[in-house]
């Protein structure tokens, strides 16, 4: 059998962490090959090595039977390897056509590119206004630009890194159709994902990674989702959650909020209506960049100048309250970004604890910070929420994503809040930590706290929410029961 690309014994370490340990993998002509693993398993590192962004510490790669050592991405592209990144490598302030030109060799003229594009467009159904500025495009459209840039190179192998994370279900369907067409034309696709259902549906072969090692080569169509998951995570996934009891007391009412985003290309909010009750977990689903972070800021008070509508907390309007005034009333907030928003990497855990506590008079006296008390509280968070770290003086950046997130969640839960508003609480977190975080939140809800979760992970919301709604283009959909919402409901709401 002939292999297009053979990878043998690739090892790559960062500092003292082995991101890839002796990984081997073979790509056969015409196959859609899944690279499966959870966050931090080493998938991204491996493809960056194949694409020439990183250099392996040891190991060997053969392309068409010849030794292949990509110096840089350009070299990889010349050899017929293309890549579509998860975090787009686009130039936001430039037009679509300029972005496409930048992927071409110097001597390729604009006319040639236009020519090729008209072919690609018809062939693969990729329509876009070429003169639009990329920043104005939706995430799905940006991905199209990436794919067009990739196809212009006429690649033999295309690497796709979590491509469906920015697509709504309808778009995913079309996208799979497109990939199958590409594959049937002989293009090899290396498909990186942690979504098992997709891989079963799409891929011919799967290489499963865990902690930087290959744990299984298999045909994903044969194995069940549970079996795949077991290889990926190393243990059974615990899927059964017992939901909390909801009491018929309104904790928060959001009435017809309108927020005009002053930022260039920023998403404005409108028609946001919902209420949450005591003990309830309310989910807000949506694809990235549809107004989630704006809504989060409006709820937290980082934005407190909305022009229209009202936010009631226990029946009192809090529109104009600052974030710390809201915290004083028993609200806590967990933003999406752990580096530079909810926590600071260069700060110790004690300082990170202080980040959201310097309104609470227990932590200071006459403006002088009580570091002894702060250290004690930090230790409590570490112990109660199972944060693995050296001690309370460790830098936040020295913790793994999962442990830092447990710390951030624990820091807020420890305040004994009435309401927890969180965005993507398990984003980029290993499954073990994600399950723990879900447990922490559910426990809190059972004790009577109210929780609002803004998340792109629909499965997460379905698992732990009572009710949910979908945000699209800054507007919130009608509210569904999480137990009865269908994929069609979601697809329709996301496409609005």
């Amino acid at each position: 059998m002939t292999y297009l690309l053979e990878i043998a014994g690739i090892t790559k370490s960062f500092l003292d962490i082995k991101a890839n340990n002796n990984i081997s993998l073979k790509l056969k002509e015409g196959e859609i090959h899944a690279l499966l693993g959870e966050n931090g398993a080493g998938k991204s590192t491996l493809v960056k090595i194949i694409y020439g962004i990183l250099k392996p510490d040891s190991g060997k790669m053969l392309l068409n039977g010849e030794e292949y050592n990509p110096e840089n991405p350009d070299f990889a592209r010349k050899q017929g390897i293309g890549m579509v990144f998860q975090h787009f490598s686009l130039f936001e302030s430039l037009s679509v056509i300029d972005n496409l030109m930048l992927g071409q060799d110097e001597h390729v003229s604009r006319l040639t590119v236009m020519d090729q594009l008209s072919y690609i467009k018809d062939e693969y159904d990729l329509y876009l206004d070429l003169n639009k500025t990329v920043a104005t495009l939706s995430a799905g459209e940006k991905q199209k630009v990436e794919i067009m840039r990739c196809l212009l190179q006429d690649p033999k192998i295309i690497i796709l890194d979590e491509p469906t994370s920015v697509l709504n279900p309808e778009e995913v369907k079309k996208f799979f159709h497109f990939l199958k067409k590409l594959s049937s034309e002989g293009v090899v696709i290396l498909y990186i994902s942690h979504k098992l259902q997709e891989i079963k549906e799409l891929c011919d072969f799967a290489t499963i990674l865990r902690n930087g090692n290959v744990v299984k080569y298999c045909d994903p169509k044969i194995l069940s989702i549970n079996e795949l998951a077991k290889f990926m995570i190393g243990k059974d996934i615990n899927q059964s959650y017992k939901l909390s009891e909801v009491e018929d007391i309104d904790v928060m009412n959001i009435n017809n909020i309108k927020y005009n985003n002053p930022e260039l290309y920023g998403i404005s909010l409108q028609e946001i209506n919902f209420n949450v009750q005591k003990g309830e977990i309310f989910g807000i689903a949506g694809i990235a960049g549809n107004g989630q972070s704006e809504l989060m800021k409006v709820l937290s008070g980082e934005i407190n100048n909305i022009k229209q509508g009202s936010i009631l907390f226990h029946g009192k309007e809090i529109n104009y309250l600052s974030i710390n005034d809201r915290r004083k009333k028993g609200m806590v907030f967990i933003p999406e970004d752990r580096s530079g928003h909810g926590a600071i990497g260069n700060f110790s855990l004690i300082d990170n604890l202080l980040l959201t506590n310097l309104w609470d008079v227990d932590f200071f006296k006459n403006g002088v910070i009580d570091y002894i008390y702060s250290a004690k509280k930090t230790k409590e968070v570490i112990d109660e929420f199972n944060v693995i770290c050296k001690d309370e003086n460790s830098l936040a950046s020295s913790l793994s994503g999962g442990n830092l997130q447990k710390f951030v969640v624990g820091r807020e839960i420890l305040k004994g809040p009435d309401i927890i508003v969180c965005e993507q609480p398990t984003w980029g977190v290993d499954i073990g930590s994600a399950n723990m975080i879900h447990d922490f939140l559910l426990d809190k809800a059972r004790m009577g706290a109210t929780i609002i979760i803004i998340s792109q992970d629909i499965d997460e919301l379905r698992k732990i929410c009572h009710r949910m709604a979908i945000i699209s283009n800054g507007k919130l959909s009608k509210i569904y029961d999480a137990s009865s919402i269908t994929s069609e409901n979601i697809a329709i709401e996301m496409a609005k």
Binding site: D74, R77, S89, L90, F91, L94, L264
Partner: protein, 306 residues
């Protein structure tokens, strides 16, 4: 009439060093680097061109000296910020402080000497056209060069692939890197080019404007050049507008002083700086206009490997 022609000529001559320095800095900033050392690079250009011209008698060699010496000290900034990842603001300040010190050190024994003035365009037919000749064809070569450089920069950025690559580097260095462009090399070359331009601007001061060397003779023009780039909102052709406004104010306030208006000279001398501030405020008020054109990666650290 003659007075107005003299004022016009004065404005062009006062503005040209600003045009030269700011068009260079525009390229640097478009590539995503903020070099605050324009003042230091200008003064090095001024002193080195003066010394070489004085010693060799050749203005051309003087200009060459300015380009090389300012390019070289810009290279220090480039290596520090691009390869040793130092803070751009601090390094730019260091460049200014170092440049001012070094210039007064090497220029010390040349203080107060004068040199022959710079040759101007001598095409009699054009020059003898009434009024037009005096307005447009009576300048030194550098004035015309500065105009060509601005137009050239406009064409480079908007019409060439390399210009597009430069803009892309300033827009998103990680993307540029992942497409295989060498961000650091592009930026280093831009920084050196910006240094050379600032050097030319400095040379204009000591060779053309006042053909002599005076300590600290740049007197904040490097900083004004930086302000002009913001004023132009990173669009090359607008550099003209910015530079000629500031040159205009400088000259007009001098003429007002000369007419003996009863205002202390110091207050008139403040005008260019005060106007700079007002213009900066006016331009900065429209955040979105700035955001459209400002390089996204300006003054951001690029840490990737290659």
């Amino acid at each position: 009439m003659d007075l107005y022609i003299a004022i016009f000529q004065g404005i062009i001559i006062a503005s040209t060093p600003l045009v030269l320095a700011s068009i260079g800095e525009l390229i640097v900033e478009k590539s995503g680097v903020l070099n605050l050392g324009v003042e230091g690079m200008m003064i090095i250009g001024a002193v080195s061109s003066f010394i070489v011209t004085y010693e060799t008698g050749s203005h051309l060699l003087g200009l060459l000296a300015a380009i090389i010496s300012s390019g070289l000290i810009a290279l220090i900034f480039g290596i520090l910020t691009q390869y040793l990842l130092s803070n751009q603001v601090a390094t730019g300040l260091a460049l200014t402080l170092f440049g001012l010190g070094l210039a007064s050190l090497i220029g010390q024994s040349y203080s107060g000497i004068t040199i022959e003035s710079f040759p101007s365009l001598e095409i009699d037919i054009l020059k003898n056209i009434p009024i037009i000749g005096d307005l447009f064809f009576a300048f030194d070569y550098l004035v015309y060069l500065s105009v060509l450089m601005v137009i050239g920069t406009y064409l480079f950025l908007n019409k060439t692939k390399r210009g597009l690559i430069l803009i892309a580097t300033g827009d998103n260095h990680d993307s540029a890197h992942s497409l295989g462009y060498s961000v650091k090399k592009i930026r280093l070359l831009s920084i050196i080019y910006g240094g050379a331009c600032a050097g030319l601007g400095g040379a204009y001061l000591s060779l053309v404007q006042t053909p002599m060397w005076v300590e600290n003779m740049t007197a904040g023009r490097g900083w004004i050049a930086l302000a002009i780039v913001v004023f132009a909102v990173w669009r090359p052709l607008w550099i003209f507008a910015g530079a000629y406004i500031f040159g205009g104010i400088t000259i007009i306030q001098l003429h007002i002083q000369a007419t003996g208006v009863n205002i202390e000279a110091q207050y008139m001398s403040m005008l260019p700086y005060v106007v700079t501030i007002l213009v900066l405020v006016f331009i900065s008020m429209n955040k979105n206009r700035l955001a459209v054109n400002a390089p996204n990666c300006l003054n951001k650290l690029f840490t990737s490997d290659i």
